[in-house]
């Protein structure tokens, strides 16, 4: 599984990345998380408002900060 946390310019995006790391750790897949802060890369995914979250190439959230619990839920939903 590949998890991408989008955004790196504002505090919210940094927090979202941190929460994604924590959630991945909980699921035991922390090595699969990467942060994308390049505007162009983010736009290529169709996201215009950060923070965003992408799991295996699919945008699952954009424009909002997710809690650790929410991200864990999204990861599990994707696994199933």
């Amino acid at each position: 599984m590949k998890i991408q946390a989008l955004g790196g310019c504002c505090k919210k995006s940094m927090q979202n990345y941190q929460n994604t790391m924590d959630a991945a750790k909980e699921c035991g897949i922390e090595e699969s998380v990467e942060q994308i802060s390049d505007t162009n890369e983010i736009l290529k995914l169709g996201v215009m408002a950060t923070p965003g979250l992408v799991i295996d190439g699919k945008v699952v959230s954009s424009g909002k900060l997710l809690s650790v619990g929410q991200i864990v839920e999204l990861i599990n939903k994707h696994k199933a």
Binding site: S13, N40, L45, M48, A49, T50
Partner: protein
């Protein structure tokens, strides 16, 4: 009917009862000599305005964010793609007020719109209206100046956004965009629809975030407001910013442009200036100038547009605001 509107404006939106309550409380605690003096009145204004703006801000941001949750930028982009010409500019200006984004998203939005084939005019109409016309500001303005002024502010704000965007497009200035903006495909995203509960949570989070973010702007704004309210002589303000001074609007716009403040921090200053005899148009011009043109947002914009377009953007917006200012100074008596 006008009694009802007056009651809503004075007691619910302006919370005049709170002002009286704070006044009584200060009187009770420190005696009438202090409460009636300059320091006492300054303190009264500060406490009253701080609480009032805090309450209004929380209620308003909640309502506004709830509405905004229906218009993420990805969906706005799709909606705008369906319109052409002035209609597109108008809808761009309207959606500018409804689409939520923080300043660091303005660049992705600019690029996203451009790649989706939206015209430069629509994009600029969107960018001008979004800081300028704000649903929350509408209600706050109504609480100070009444509904007529608030609605007039929104209408002229939208007209400025539509005209500004159109001028940039028609004059060809809109072509001065950095090349890399075009180097990429447009990607449309399927926007998931939210449940009511998710929208509520989103709105509540926005309230918390915004309050934290603008807290100091409000403190400083209200502080300046109470200073103006009680310490700066009215005659002095009237001679500089009163509607009889032909340069008042110009001064207000030039002073306001480099300042960056949230609209919620600007309003207490506007309120105090207005009570001291500054012209209505001058005050509106000051508020528009502070919120629309600011150095941080211009630096952001510089990354995607060429200098020529940036300079013209500033000039067009400034001229528009100045015209609006003079217009309101001339016809302001209709509203108040």
């Amino acid at each position: 009917m006008s009694d009802v509107l007056g009651f809503i404006t004075n007691e619910i939106l302006a919370m005049k009862w709170l002002n009286r309550l704070v006044g009584e409380l200060l009187n009770f605690l420190f005696g009438s000599e202090f409460a009636g003096g300059k320091w006492g009145l300054s303190l009264q204004f500060f406490i009253y305005d701080f609480i009032k703006i805090g309450i209004l801000l929380c209620v308003l941001i909640f309502i506004v964010s709830y509405i905004q949750s229906f218009f993420p930028p990805e969906r706005t982009k799709k909606i705008l793609g369906k319109f052409k010409g002035v209609r597109a500019n108008t809808i761009g200006a309207l959606l500018g007020t409804l689409t939520p984004f923080c300043s660091c998203s303005s660049i992705p939005i600019f690029i996203g719109f451009t790649r989706a084939g939206l015209s430069s005019g629509v994009t600029f109409s969107f960018l001008i209206s979004s800081p300028l016309v704000d649903l929350g500001a509408l209600i706050l303005l109504a609480s100070i100046f009444g509904f007529e002024v608030a609605i007039a502010y929104v209408i002229v704000g939208l007209v400025l956004a539509v005209l500004g965007g159109s001028i940039i497009e028609v004059s060809g200035l809109g072509n001065y965009i950095e090349g890399f903006v075009f180097d990429g495909a447009n990607v449309d995203l399927e926007v998931e629809s939210l449940t009511t509960k998710e929208r509520m949570t989103y709105a509540l989070d926005q309230v918390k975030d915004t309050y934290k973010k603008v807290f100091w702007y409000i403190v400083i704004g209200v502080g300046f407001g109470s200073l103006i309210h009680n310490w700066i002589p009215g005659a002095w303000i009237e001679s500089v910013l009163g509607k009889d001074n032909p340069f008042s609007v110009l001064i207000a716009v030039l002073v306001g442009a480099p300042i960056y403040a949230d609209i919620f921090g600007t309003i207490p200053i506007a309120e105090a200036l207005f009570n001291k005899g500054a012209g209505l148009g001058t005050i509106l011009a000051f508020m528009m100038s502070v919120t629309t043109l600011s150095i941080p947002s211009l630096i952001m914009l510089k990354r995607v547009v060429k200098t020529k377009l940036l300079v013209w953007f500033i000039v067009i917006v400034m001229i528009g605001i100045i015209i609006i200012g003079y217009l309101f100074n001339f016809i302001g008596y209709i509203f108040i």
